[in-house]
Symmetry: C2
Subunit: 374 residues, 2 copies
């Protein structure tokens, strides 16, 4: 009844998990050293300045079952929890998503198409990758990196030295062939402790300087086969990992079909629309899975858009005046490039949705990629 | 941006206001002496054992704008707030709903039909009321009283002495003619600081021993005229009171049309369905109004049912296994007659809704009035 969930991290994802979990009678602890983190008001916070072992153990004492809202966390934290109490998703899910090479190997094992790649341990490896995979070449760190950080786009073999200078310290790296994609899609799925699995409709994602600007869900002009293919891919990953909780798979839609890009073992920015747009949100389904409860319907009755608020806050009233717009602020201070909140808007049709998005773009100090013609 | 709302009371209504308000970037203080009150985890709690003036002033210091989640609060609290900071709904709304005679006079002024009544200050007044209004007669305290408490159903003139013995100490009382109603309905409306007003669809309410068992929304088999009449009545009340926030009007549907029963200057149990069933819930619209923000749509796309969990908790999994059922627990311990939570379930049609209600009735230890045939 009064099960408590411990969340590694206290950002907006933890905050939205808690907002979804309280109605289920759950309570929350967070492990985050920032006293003003977005989740701070919604549970008990643990974690001192250097994330000492004492503070980690106190956090583990405080809750019954654990999860995380960010995959780039020290594996030792998750192992310390797993030694004493259940943690979902498990260490295997984390190990795959923390390492792009592991992820690529998993895609290959499961016959999930993905960009060709090479492991890079030297500048020579880089030159070899250019001749094997062609140009341009996307070079990334194997661990860490998100929102476009830790990446280098190699357009010319001459840039190999510059690329190595920029990223070589983080080697091994991964070099991937450059994919000419029609658009980026993502699929979010959830798997319960009993193995029950549900899929949200594919989201179409638009970026601006590497940061997600907005998502349209269900992705427009999608044939049913694409949704089913994406479900088959993510389903095989969920099953292989014995994953419990939400998992996200980012995909490229290309002329030759879907290519898997990367996974995130958690609720995802491209799924925030589900709070209003689906019967049961990704946050509620994640906490249901972690708490061992039956999953809710992932059905969407209408098109939705999720629009990120980046860097500067709009006037709340300007947002809420737009029909069926919902505002989600994370309680953060303004800073360039920072995710401060998001807006969900739903409509009865895509053209109506586009009109509402356009009105919201006018209300935002930083309209990101919203003004790009579709 | 970081506006804080102070709520008098820390029960489930305050809890659900807070859950709706955090996404809008609001934070919350509660004035409730119970350290384990349902709102405690969702904001800063004030109020010592005897609700001292010091604790009230500290509460007033802590927030920017105020509201309440229960109308039976000392008027001096609201006056103390109003002397320093804005409080919505205002003192006028509170004065009407706290006193059944004031309420009856307001209905009369605004030409809102209501049961005939008499003010009762003595046992003789009671006998006179029997001859004027007929039998049975519903005798109520003028102030306090909810969930059927503080009421006496006088079936026989002989019971006048017993009735006076039971309630006389709380005189003045009010005696109302007994209404043969087809069903009880309620309408919930919200008015913003700009005067903008929105109405939720009428709810059909079912009681069990004076406690709300469940509500069906929109009330089935309703002609449009009834909805519009109810909107006209509540609209005139909102306007007359200069009300800001949610207001509820309970009504009887009779052979001769709608009769107003009573008002509540707050979010209402019969409106809990709106969290999932309406575009913008009564809780979000209430906090939007209190925060001076534009209101959200009160539209319901499908039939919903709200089912109270009274006295004993069901197994959460049994509830969540029912398609499109959502669970809302308040963090309270079990006690006979206590509202511990509610369930919302939606469906595409009323027959499908009935089937889901019937499955939920099976999951509840105390199915209240759910097994009554409709």
């Amino acid at each position: 009844m009064s099960l408590r969930i411990g969340v590694l991290g206290g950002g907006q994802l933890g905050r939205m998990m808690a907002l979804a979990g309280y109605p289920l009678g759950l309570s929350f602890s967070f492990f985050d050293k920032a006293a003003d983190c977005p989740s701070a008001a919604l549970g008990e916070r643990f974690g001192d300045a250097d994330y000492s072992d004492e503070s980690l153990q106190a956090f583990i004492d405080s809750a019954d079952v654990f999860t995380y809202e960010f995959e780039n966390i020290p594996t030792r934290w998750v192992e310390a929890i797993a030694a004493r109490k259940p943690v979902y998703p498990g260490v295997k899910s984390l190990a795959v998503s923390q390492n792009r090479l592991n992820e690529k190997r998993l895609f290959a094992e499961l016959n999930i198409p993905s960009a060709r790649y090479a492991e890079i341990r030297s500048e020579d490896d880089l030159r070899r990758a250019v001749s094997d995979l062609g140009l341009p070449l996307v070079v990334k760190t194997v661990t860490e990196g998100y929102d476009g950080k830790g990446q280098f786009l190699l357009r010319d073999a001459e840039q190999a030295a510059a690329c190595w200078a920029a990223l070589g310290a983080s080697a091994p790296l991964i070099a991937e062939e450059f994919i000419q994609f029609k658009r980026e899609l993502s699929i979010i799925a959830v798997r319960g402790q009993s193995g029950e699995t549900k899929f949200y409709p594919l989201a179409e994602n638009h970026h601006n300087h590497g940061i997600l600007s907005h998502s349209i869900v269900p992705a427009p002009l999608l044939d049913e086969n694409t949704q089913l293919t994406a479900e088959r891919y993510i389903s095989s990953i969920l099953h292989e990992l014995g994953h419990v909780g939400v998992l996200t798979l980012e995909l490229f839609e290309t002329r030759h079909g879907l290519l898997a890009n990367e996974t995130a073992p958690r609720v995802h920015n491209s799924g925030h629309w589900s709070i209003e747009g689906a019967h049961c949100s990704q946050f509620e389904n994640h906490v249901r899975a972690v708490a061992g409860l039956p999953l809710g319907s992932t059905r969407a009755e209408k098109p939705s858009a999720m629009i990120n608020i980046i860097g500067r806050h709009p006037a709340s009233a300007d947002v809420l005046r737009v029909t069926d717009a919902h505002l989600h602020l994370y309680g953060k201070t303004e800073r360039e490039g920072r995710k401060l909140g998001h807006i969900t808007v739903t409509a009865d049709s895509y053209p109506e949705l586009e009109m509402r998005i356009s009105r919201l773009a006018d209300a935002l100090p930083n309209p990101m990629a919203l003004h790009l013609s579709r």
